[in-house]
Each structure stands twice: as structure tokens, then as C-alpha cells.
């Protein structure tokens, strides 16, 4: 079975690069779909804008979501994911620089599955990515979603 896509929502290109490197280092072979702002993430997930017509039945395995994003912020993206019947069980991991208490509270209130603060140390970062991949891609089970559900 073809490994599912990982949706990486990240505007900082350095971070994108580092995340990809960390995934690669951990032998995570899933296809990585990178979008650089919240609006594009929503377009991708709900088949709107430049992604209209995309086969929406193919959901990503998980979403790595930054918070401080251009256009639509991370929390808004999360909210819309959770509000939609089709995507509401999608594993979403907030991967951010912020350790702000309020952000943590807000993230969990909106139903995030995990909140990971990106370490500055690349070794640690790699380790964090490894664990995320191990858990969310291999160990975690997601309930099936009814086909009739409207998007």
C-alpha cells in the first residue's frame, strides 16, 4: 500500500527544508505535501482554489501545522479541519516555535492531537520528527470516515 501523504503547513522555507531533512533522516518515505500558508492548506484539504477537483477521498496521514502563518492562521486552519465532518478525525500536530501558554490552551481547545515545540537543536528536532512519524504514522489508528459525508 502506498504510504499516505503528510501535509506540512509551514511558511518558513528553512523550516520546511529542515523538516524534510529530518523526515528523510528518519526514513519516513511518505509523500510530503508542502503548503506555505493557511489558505493554501485549506484549499488543499477541501479541494478549493487551485486544488479544486482534487480527489478529496485521499486524506493526508497527518497534518504538521505551524501556527504563525500568512493569510489564514494555524488555529483557523485547525478549526476548519475539526468543523468539517470529512476531516474532523484527521491527526493534526502543531509544530511551532511558540511555547506560549495561550497557544497551547488554544490548540488543545480546538482539538489538536499533539503540540510539539520545534527545538533549536537539529538533533533534537530530528528525534522529535522521528517520534511523531513513529506514533502518528504507524501506531495510531484513525476511525473510518463515511463516504457520504459532505465536504
Amino acid at each position: 500500500m502506498e504510504p499516505k501523504t503528510i501535509l506540512l503547513v509551514e511558511d518558513n522555507l528553512d523550516d520546511v527544508e529542515l523538516t524534510l531533512l529530518a523526515l528523510k533522516k528518519n526514513n519516513i518515505k511518505n509523500e510530503i505535501k508542502v503548503v506555505n500558508d493557511g489558505a493554501e492548506a485549506l484549499d488543499f484539504l477541501f479541494g478549493t482554489g487551485k486544488y479544486s477537483g482534487r480527489d478529496l477521498t485521499i486524506l493526508p496521514a497527518m497534518v504538521l501545522l505551524d501556527l504563525n502563518l500568512p493569510k489564514v492562521g494555524g488555529f483557523e486552519v485547525l478549526k476548519q479541519i475539526r468543523d468539517n465532518e470529512w476531516t474532523k478525525f484527521l491527526p493534526v500536530v502543531i509544530l511551532t516555535s511558540s511555547k506560549h501558554d495561550q497557544d497551547l490552551v488554544e490548540g488543545y481547545s480546538l482539538g489538536v492531537n499533539s503540540y510539539v515545540r520545534k527545538p533549536v537543536d537539529f538533533t533534537q528536532f530530528t528525534e522529535a520528527v522521528r517520534q511523531l512519524g513513529l506514533y502518528w504514522l504507524l501506531l495510531n489508528e484513525v476511525p473510518p470516515i463515511k463516504r457520504e459525508s459532505k465536504i
Binding site: 528553512d14 531533512l21 511551532t96 520545534k118
Partner: protein, 1006 residues
């Protein structure tokens, strides 16, 4: 037969006494052995100079020349304390009395009482313990009390703080041995200080022991040791038994029963010579000081001896008390004290203890003497009969002499009686003469006084007098009456009813009917009328004269009223004063009724205005008025209150009257009559308002103004209001104006008060507004700060991650294409980025602890410390660090924040001990002045105290990053947390010897 027998018996006793006395008198001559005494004194004072020894030998020689040798045992070493005895020696008083006296110094093993009782000395000097010894059965007899008060005191160094017996509890106290300590013991007992609470040590008699601290309290003589301490400049406290009611005799001269019985005359003579010596010594203390120094080799300075002499004088009171005087009552009291102390039994007797230099026959010795006598009588029975005959002859002679004496006495009595009678006669005659004289004088005096009184009375009579006949017609009048009534004698003569324009008034001002005139009433009632007050209204005068009237009837022979004498006294002034007083009282009452509302907080101006108006209306009798205030904003006059006369009379609506506004004109003046007082700032009144130039009439419906009074209210010259009144039933007067003026002053204060309150209110509002603005600014600033912190957290970390991450990748993936130097540089880029990340985190933490809401809870710091140490062990299990964490140290505060404090401090200790192979880190609690002080102590690198200022500053470090890693934010964070807990944090350290961090937490700071 019986009386003769008794008298013979008594005589026998006397005779026996004579024999016994003779027997006793012989004894000293037989047993006088002075030599052993000298040996004793020479033997005990081994250091005596040759000269002294010579003197003693000389004295021995002298004693051989017919003088009685006696010894006097002193209590202590030669000093001024014994001046009297030296004086008696030097001045030859002892020699004159037939004595050769050796004075022996005392020592701790040579106590006077023992010496005297044992017979080794004849006389001794002792303090009050003498009495105690007597009570214990020692045969000692007090001859004279030299010191009326005891010199015994206790000394303590001032610095010890001991100044009473109570203070001596738990202290070392030197005391004299045994009974000698009686006064001290009595003092402790009287002060309720138990002896087992005092560390009593035997005295060394050495004041140095107090100075060098071998004892806390030293037994001393007030005449001696205080001087030493003073000379050495050691401040001392004197604790004297006298202060605590233990007032015993001081030094006394004493001897033994034995001595008195053996040598009564000697004792008397020795006592007298000694007291003479004392008198001399106290009168010539300088001279005796020379003797003490020269003859007795006393080593003390002259100053010291002078001090002693002065101290002695205070205890002897030689100018007040006969030297040597003893009071049986005082000895009794002392004895009772000993009993109370349990030092002696209650069943004591002082019989024979006090020596009486002039004894009355004392029969106490009779049985003893009788015993001896009987023995002699048995041996010499013949002597009895000789004596009996001698006795009879003597009795006869006595009887004859008595007869002669009786005759003489009778003659003298008669003479005295005659002299007395004559004296009485003369005295009586003298007294009569005196009485007559004074009676005449008194009569003359009375006459003169009475004349004087009459004259004075006549002068003082200011009454107007009129004489009426039985029909009420005026017969005569005096000039004062004519003046008062304003009528001539002729006008008055023969009139009954006076001119109709002229009349009497009642006190209330109404006209008095003729039937009630004083004369009419006397004629009707036939009774005198006294103290009647009436007004006299004359046609030629406006004012009323007030008079006090007396009317007395005079009866003729028939019993009919012949005449009525009417007298008047002018009391107009008094009446006016009464009226003034009543007015002043009313005004003052009005003012005082204003006082309370004025000083009561929260009373509004309307209420005060209402009271002001009410009082003004009452005082001036005005039905109408208003009290108004000027609005400082626009000058409008606001009537806080207005009254409507009789409701219906004024057609202006009630609500229009209340709070009515009367605007100021464009020219700054006010309209109409009411405006006049405001414009002129002068009070005024008018009884004809319509004629007043300021009058402009009244609006329709307004009541007509018949009279008007107005007072402007001024505050420091500024016009602030007005009181206006109108339509009084009587004319307004200056008095009204004055009263309203006075009330106005109060109202001005009320306005001032109101304005001040308004001002405060305004300022408060402004202040609140400013606080609100500032708070908003601060909140904005806070938000900006938070957003800054957020962006620091988020935005600064991202590029750092790039720097670190890519460097790491270069190191990992491209190492084969880089030389060693390049790798090193890259590693340094990595660690710099990591350090910066740490800095950012710490800084964020620091700002966080300043902002988060604290939760007050009980925190177990020991548990937290233990958890931290467990974590630390894990980071480096190889290290040999001993953690000592005191158990159950608790604090009240925010657990999360206090954990950060402990974490920082313990981690610091861990870090700074890392260079030592072994280390010890301790967390504990100590109490300093009731404040718990927490501490963390290590034995690591420590620090130099001169950099202590930098310790708690943000980004301040005392070690380089090479020595110890760190950001310099940890202690700043800890300090901020402790400050938020109202506590303090500080540190002590020494390079390479470790550091201690202390902190406190204020109770209830959260």
C-alpha cells in the same frame, strides 16, 4: 512584825549585793594578764614592722605602770572605720580612764565575737550579727551602736545589669560566712528571692574578684569598696539592704556578760572613753586620717580615707544622733527579722543584751548573788547582827531627818500659797481693768460705725420719693421723683390721677390701668407693695424709664391709712442689660444650633441654609426671607431656601421659590433691593423699602415688601451669598443686623466647606481619570510587551533553528568535504545558536514570573528540593555529591514559582561544585529574629564578595562561560520570584570555599 521582816530582808539583799560587787571588783586585779594578748597580735600579724612591735612592747611596759590592760578586737584591718578607737588612744581618753588598750586587727579566722566570748579580748566591734549570737546563747552585750545604719551593701558591675536582689537569681553572689550574712539573707527573704536560686560563693574579701569577673555580686562596705571601683572607673550598682527595709545597726562596740559582771566600772569607763574618741574623730576626721596613715600603717590613700570618713558620717549621723545611742525597739525589730528569717527561735529574750550605762537596780542577779551571799552569811553569821544593828540606827536617823524635812516643806508650801493668792487677786484686778477698757473702746467704735453707716446710706439713697394722702393725692415729692416723672413739684401737688398723656406700663409694655397704680393698690389692699416693676412712659420722651416701686402705708390713730409713701428706683439700665442678655443668649443659641450640622460631615448646604433662615427669622421676627448662595461659575444667586408668608398672601408658586436663580446683570451687578447688599457688599435694612433708591418693585404675585434687611455673605472679601429678611412686625434694628451678620459668618463657613468638598470631589475625579488613563497605558504597554515576548519566542527561534539545523547538516552530511578547522567553526556556530536559544527561553521565563497570577498555597520545599536533586543525579550519575535536605521545610506561596527558585539555586550549587571531586549541597531553614530564613549551601567554587552587586542582575555573571555555562538569568528570575513573595534573597561566598544563598518569604504577601 511583818513589815520589819520584809525591810530587813531587802536590806540584807542590798548588803549582799555590796559584798558581791566588792568581790567581783577584786577579780580583774588578780587575773589581769595582758601578755598573751600581745603575743596573739604579734603572732597573727607576721608582717608587722619592727616599729609596730616596739609600740606594742612599749604599751605593755606602760601597762605595767598601773594602767589596766584591755584589748579591743576589730572586725577587719585598720581603717577609718575604727577611727573613734584610734582617737581615744591618741587623745589619751583611754589612758585618762585608766586603760592601756591594744587594738587588734580582724581576720577571717579571728572574729571579734569569738575572741570576746572566749575571753581572749575584752571588747570587740561587731555588726548586727552580735544580736543573733546573743539569741543563739552567746553571752555578748551591746555597749553602743556606733553606726546607726549598716554599712553593708552589695556591689555589682553596672554592665551586669544587676541592680536588685531579683536580678541576682542565677548569678554568683559572694556572701559573708554564717550569721555574718544576716542582713543579706534578710534582704533576699524580704524580696522573696529563694537562696537556692542564687549561686552563693564564700567571700574572698577581695574586690578584685568582682572586677575580674570571678563573681557577679560582691559583699561590701559602703564606706570602702565603692571608692575602689570609682577610682578604677568601673561603674557599679549598689544594692543596699536598707532599700529593702532591712535597716540594721552597723558597727557596735560590745563586750561579754562576764566582762560586765567582773568589771562594771571598767566597762562603763571604756565605753565612755570610746564614745569620746568617736566624737573627737568625727569632729577632726583629717587629724585622725593622719593617725590612721601614720600610726596604723594603713595603705589607703588620703582621698580614700576621706571618702570613708564621709560615708561613715552618713551612717553615724553624729550631728543628729548621740553617738552610741541604741534603741531597744530597733534591736527588737532586728530580732524579729532574724526570727522571721528562721535564723533564730521565736522564744528569745533580749534581757541583758543592751548595756545600760546608768542601771536601775536589777534584781535579776539576786538569786545568783543570794547563793554566793548565803555561803558567805553562813561563814560570817556574826556580821549579820552587826549589820542589823547598823540598819536600825540608820532607820532612826532617817526618820529624824524626815521630820525636819516635813517641817521645812510645810513652811515653804504656806509661803507659796500666799504668793499664789496674791497673784490671783492682782490678775483679777488686771483683767477687770482690761475688760472695762475694751468695752469703752467698743462702744465708741460702734457709735462711729453707726454714724458712718447712716451717712453712707443717705448718700447712697437714689430713690425718688412721693408722699400721698389717704385719698391718693400727692402731698409732696422729692427732686428725684420730679426728674423721673418729668413734672414739677407744683404739677404733682394735689393730683391723684396724673396727666393722661403720662402713664405707667406693665413689664410686657402694655398700659397699666389707674386702679392698678401702686398707690391705688396699697389703698385698696391696705398692704405694702414692694419690688413692683413698672415702666414710665412720658409724653416728652420716646424711651421708657423703668422703675422699681415700693409703696408703704402709714396708719393714723383710727386705723385708717393716713399716708402712702411711694419710692422709685430707676432700673432702666438694668432692664436694658437683661434685654441685651436675653438677645445675646438667643443669638448664641442660634449659632450653636448651627454648629453641629456645620461640622457634621455630609450635611448638605440646603439643610444648613434652612436652619440659617429659620434662626434669622426667629431672631428678627421676620415672616419672610431667603438664604442664597452665589454660583461661582456664573455669578447667579441661587436661593437655597425661600419662605412664603402665610402661604396665601404670596402668589408666587412654592416650587418657583425653592432653588430660584437670580442672574447677575451684564454689568456684574444685581437688580433691585435684594441686589443692593450684594452690589455694595454692605449689610443694610430699611423700614420704607419703596423709598429706597435701589427698589424696583416686586413682580406680580409677590408679597409686598414692608421692611427689608439684607446681609451679604463674604468669604475672605469675596461675595459668596446672601441672607435677606423682610416684613418683621417691628422695626429692624442694628442689633438685628449684628445678629444676622454673626450667623452669616457661619453660613460663609458652610459655603467654604461645600466648595472645598466640591473641589476635592473634582480632584478625585480627575485623579481617577488619570489613574484610568495610566492603567490603560500600562495595559497597552503590557500587551505590547507580551506580543514582543511572543515574537521573540516565535520569530527569533525560527532563524536560530535554521542556523543550527543547517550547520548540523553540514557537519553530518558534508564532513568529508571540510577540514578540521572548518568543522570546529561550524560547531561553534551550533553552540552559539543553542546558547542564544537558551537565553531567549530564560528571558521569557523571567518575564513570565513577573506576570503570571500567583496561587497561594502551602508548599513543601523539602519535597521539591528532593525532586530536583533526583533529576540532577540523573544528568550526571558519576558525580559524588551529598545532598543534605532538611525535612519538612514548608512555605506559604506559589508552588510553581518557588519550584523555579529552588531549581535555580540547587542547579547553581550543582553547577558550581562540578569542578570539585566531592561536594556537599545543603538545603535548610534557620530562624533569624522569628523570621524563617531558607538557605542553600554548597562547598563549590564560591565567589568573591566584592562582586555581590552583580549577583542578581539580569545577564550578570560572576564566572566566564568557559568556567561555568549559564545565561545569567537564573538568579535574576529567583530574585524576581522572591520579591513577588515579599521576601529577600541574598548570598554569601568565598572563592573556592563555597556559597550560601538565603531567602525569606513574607507571610501573607500573596
Amino acid at each position: 512584825m511583818k513589815p520589819l521582816q520584809i525591810s530587813s530582808f531587802v536590806f540584807l539583799l542590798f548588803a549582799l549585793m555590796g559584798i558581791s560587787v566588792c568581790f567581783a571588783l577584786q577579780e580583774p586585779t588578780l587575773s589581769a594578764t595582758p601578755m598573751p594578748v600581745v603575743k596573739q597580735s604579734a603572732g597573727r600579724n607576721t608582717n608587722k614592722s619592727q616599729e609596730e612591735t616596739k609600740r606594742e612592747i612599749f604599751q605593755v611596759n606602760e601597762s605595767e605602770a598601773g594602767l589596766k590592760h584591755v584589748t579591743l578586737q576589730l572586725t577587719w584591718l585598720h581603717q577609718f572605720q575604727f577611727a573613734g578607737y584610734y582617737a581615744a588612744v591618741e587623745q589619751g581618753f583611754y589612758r585618762d580612764a585608766g586603760f592601756d588598750v591594744t587594738i587588734i586587727e580582724g581576720a577571717s579566722d579571728r572574729r571579734p565575737i569569738e575572741e570576746v566570748v572566749s575571753g581572749r579580748a575584752n571588747y570587740g566591734v561587731a555588726r548586727s550579727e552580735l544580736l543573733l549570737n546573743r539569741m543563739h546563747g552567746k553571752p555578748v552585750v551591746a555597749l553602743a551602736a556606733i553606726l546607726q545604719h549598716s554599712a553593708i551593701i552589695m556591689l555589682a558591675k553596672k554592665e551586669s545589669g544587676i541592680n536588685s536582689p531579683q536580678n541576682m537569681i542565677g548569678k554568683r553572689v559572694m556572701l559573708l560566712p554564717g550569721d555574718d550574712a544576716a542582713e543579706y539573707l534578710a534582704m533576699f527573704k524580704s524580696e522573696g528571692v529563694s537562696l537556692d536560686k542564687i549561686d552563693i560563693i564564700p567571700t574572698t574579701y577581695n574586690i578584685e574578684n568582682l572586677i575580674d569577673g570571678k563573681t557577679d555580686v560582691f559583699n561590701a562596705y559602703i564606706t570602702n569598696e565603692p571608692y575602689y571601683l570609682e577610682q578604677k572607673g568601673i561603674p557599679a550598682s549598689i544594692i543596699s539592704p536598707i532599700t529593702y527595709g532591712i535597716d540594721f545597726y552597723g558597727d557596735c562596740l560590745f563586750t561579754s556578760d562576764q566582762e560586765i559582771h567582773k568589771h562594771p566600772d571598767q566597762v562603763r569607763a571604756f565605753r565612755a572613753a570610746s564614745l569620746r574618741g568617736w566624737e573627737y574623730a568625727m569632729a577632726h576626721s583629717e587629724e585622725i586620717i593622719d593617725v590612721v596613715v601614720g600610726q596604723y600603717g594603713v595603705k589607703k590613700s588620703r582621698d580614700h580615707l576621706k571618702f570613708e570618713a564621709e560615708a561613715m558620717r552618713k551612717l553615724m549621723l553624729p550631728d543628729l544622733v548621740e553617738i552610741g545611742l541604741m534603741n531597744p525597739g530597733r534591736w527588737q525589730h532586728m530580732a524579729d527579722t532574724y526570727v522571721a528569717l528562721g535564723m533564730a527561735d521565736a522564744g528569745y529574750s533580749l534581757q541583758g543584751f543592751m548595756y545600760d550605762p546608768n542601771p536601775t537596780p536589777d534584781y535579776s542577779w539576786v538569786p545568783r548573788a543570794l547563793g554566793i551571799g548565803i555561803a558567805i552569811v553562813l561563814l560570817t553569821s556574826s556580821a549579820f547582827f552587826i549589820l542589823l544593828r547598823f540598819n536600825q540606827k540608820l532607820r532612826l536617823e532617817v526618820a529624824q531627818r524626815k521630820q525636819v524635812e516635813e517641817r521645812l516643806s510645810k513652811a515653804r508650801n504656806e509661803l507659796e500659797l500666799r504668793v499664789e493668792e496674791r497673784t490671783v487677786e492682782l490678775t483679777v484686778a488686771n483683767e477687770q481693768l482690761n475688760i472695762e477698757n475694751s468695752e469703752r473702746k467698743q462702744a465708741e467704735e460702734t457709735l462711729r460705725e453707726s454714724e458712718e453707716r447712716y451717712r453712707s446710706l443717705i448718700r447712697k439713697v437714689q430713690a425718688a420719693i412721693m408722699l400721698h394722702d389717704g385719698q391718693g393725692r400727692i402731698l409732696t415729692s422729692n427732686p428725684l421723683a420730679q426728674e423721673l416723672l418729668g413734672l414739677s413739684e407744683d404739677q404733682l401737688l394735689g393730683k391723684t390721677l396724673i396727666d393722661p398723656e403720662w402713664h405707667f406700663l406693665r413689664e410686657d409694655g402694655s398700659v397699666l390701668p389707674v386702679a392698678e397704680y401702686p398707690v391705688s393698690r396699697v389703698l385698696t389692699t391696705r398692704q405694702p407693695l414692694r419690688g413692683y416693676v413698672s415702666g414710665i412712659s412720658r409724653p416728652d420722651r420716646d424711651d421708657v424709664a423703668w422703675v422699681l416701686v415700693n409703696a408703704e402705708p402709714e396708719y393714723g390713730n383710727t386705723g385708717e391709712i393716713d399716708r402712702v409713701i411711694v419710692s422709685f428706683v430707676d432700673i432702666t439700665e438694668r432692664k436694658q442689660a437683661e434685654k441685651d442678655n436675653a438677645w445675646n443668649l438667643a443669638v448664641n443659641q442660634s449659632l450653636s444650633s448651627l454648629y453641629i450640622p456645620l461640622v457634621t460631615a455630609g450635611t448638605d448646604i440646603e439643610k444648613i441654609a434652612a436652619i440659617v433662615l429659620e434662626k434669622c427669622r426667629q431672631l428678627t421676627g421676620s415672616p419672610h426671607g431667603f438664604v442664597a448662595e452665589i454660583d461661582p461659575a456664573n455669578g447667579d444667586l441661587i436661593a437655597h431656601t425661600n419662605t412664603k408668608m402665610l402661604q396665601t398672601e404670596c402668589k408666587i408658586a412654592e416650587e418657583k421659590l425653592r432653588k430660584a436663580r437670580f442672574p447677575q446683570r451684564a454689568d456684574g451687578l444685581y437688580n433691585g433691593l435684594w441686589g443692593h447688599a450684594l452690589n455694595t457688599k454692605e449689610p443694610f435694612y430699611t423700614d420704607v423699602p419703596v423709598k429706597h433708591p435701589a427698589s424696583v418693585g416686586v413682580p406680580e404675585g409677590h408679597v409686598e415688601i414692608e421692611r427689608f434687611l439684607s446681609v451679604p455673605v463674604l468669604l475672605a472679601g469675596e461675595l459668596v451669598g446672601q441672607i435677606a429678611l423682610s416684613n418683621s412686625t417691628r422695626a429692624y434694628t442694628d442689633q438685628d443686623l449684628d445678629a444676622v451678620n454673626r450667623i452669616t459668618e457661619f453660613f460663609a463657613l458652610a459655603i467654604q466647606h461645600k466648595r472645598a468638598e466640591e473641589q476635592i470631589l473634582k480632584l478625585n475625579q480627575e485623579l481617577e481619570q488619570r489613574v484610568l488613563e495610566r492603567t490603560t497605558q500600562l495595559e497597552t504597554a503590557n500587551k505590547e510587551l507580551e506580543s514582543f515576548a511572543y515574537s521573540v519566542s516565535h520569530d527569533l527561534r525560527a532563524p536560530l533553528r535554521g542556523i543550527e539545523g543547517f550547520s548540523q547538516i553540514l557537519l553530518d552530511e558534508y564532513q568529508d568535504r571540510m577540514d578540521e578547522q572548518g568543522k570546529k567553526y561550524l560547531q561553534r556556530v551550533c553552540s552559539a545558536a543553542q546558547h542564544m536559544a537558551q537565553l531567549i527561553d530564560d528571558m521569557l521565563n523571567l518575564s513570565r514570573v513577573g506576570r503570571i497570577d500567583m496561587i497561594n498555597q502551602q508548599v513543601n520545599l523539602s519535597d521539591i528540593a528532593r525532586e530536583i536533586t533526583v533529576d540532577l543525579y540523573k544528568t550526571d550519575p558519576e558525580r559524588e555529591v551529598v545532598f543534605v535536605i532538611h525535612r519538612d521545610i514548608k512555605a506559604q506561596g506559589d508552588g510553581q514559582l518557588l519550584r523555579i527558585v529552588l531549581d535555580n539555586l540547587i542547579r547553581n550549587a550543582w553547577k558550581f561544585t562540578s569542578k570539585h571531586p566531592k561536594a556537599r549541597i545543603e538545603f535548610g531553614l534557620q530562624q533569624e529574629k522569628k523570621t524563617p530564613v531558607y538557605f542553600i549551601r554548597d562547598d563549590g567554587a564560591g565567589f568573591d564578595m566584592k562582586y555581590i552587586d552583580k549577583m542578581f542582575g539580569t545577564f550578570q555573571r560572576l564566572h566566564t562561560a568557559n568556567e561555568f555555562a549559564g545565561t545569567g538569568v537564573g538568579l535574576a528570575t529567583a530574585q524576581r520570584i522572591i520579591h513577588r513573595h515579599g521576601g529577600k534573597i541574598w548570598a554569601q561566598g568565598e572563592v573556592e570555599k563555597g556559597a550560601v544563598f538565603y531567602f525569606t518569604i513574607k507571610k501573607g504577601a500573596l
